[in-house]
Amino acid sequence: MNYKISKDPIVIQEVIDKVVKRNAGAVTTFIGTVREMTKGKKTLFLIYEAYEPMAIKKLEQIGAEIKERWPEAETAITHRVGKLDITDIAVVIAVSTPHRNDAYEANRYAIERIKEIVPIWKKEHWEDGETWVGNQLETLPYPSGKPKEMDIHD
């Protein structure tokens, strides 16, 4: 169960424990938390929604992509869904590798891929309204109906 969608608060240590190995000298974690201010606008809280079975498959795919690029890496990812308040944890990515550079690179790869292919959506609740963030500038549409190979593999 290295790849998980969770309705409950994420315990960072539990995600880290999944990747610790006798031969992993380096573990990196990325912890995405709910930020209060975005471009001068104040967020009150967020709702995360997931297409859960596919989201888990896509997280597993990211783990497999990492394994292909960094064969000694172990990866674990938990993403939260539901209502999150400021400073709550939305996602924890833990990657272990024998050497530190790979642990940083592979971890960064994971968060970039999550933002590209994992069906999870964030609804921002501002002081003056609400928006699904994916509808904004942050993500490109895919006119063909699915991400291109280029999007998937680079």
């Binding site: 069906p119 999870i120 109906g145 699915k146």
Partner: protein
């Protein structure tokens, strides 16, 4: 029947989480045009499509029992 799943703004726009529709033999593109005609689904233009939990092209042909999910630009992380 095709089982269509809607998420995020598509769910808000249509007021529905899922739609059952006769569409055996249709392409994804045909299904999209039908849904745009019948529901208020402007956001379908920028959505990706998944058939049975894998991303699929507009020309993918659908069969009875398929689950089609329309996936607005994702914003996890």
């Amino acid at each position: 029947m095709i089982n269509v799943l809607l998420f995020a703004q598509l769910r808000d726009e249509s007021g529905k989480e899922s739609i059952s529709i006769e569409g055996n033999g249709w392409s994804v593109d045909e299904l999209k045009r039908k849904l745009k005609a019948d529901y208020q689904l402007g956001s379908l233009e920028t959505a990706m499509t998944a058939v049975n939990e894998e991303f699929a092209d507009d020309d993918t042909i659908l069969s009875d029992g398929d689950t089609v999910a329309f996936i607005p630009p994702v914003s996890g992380g």
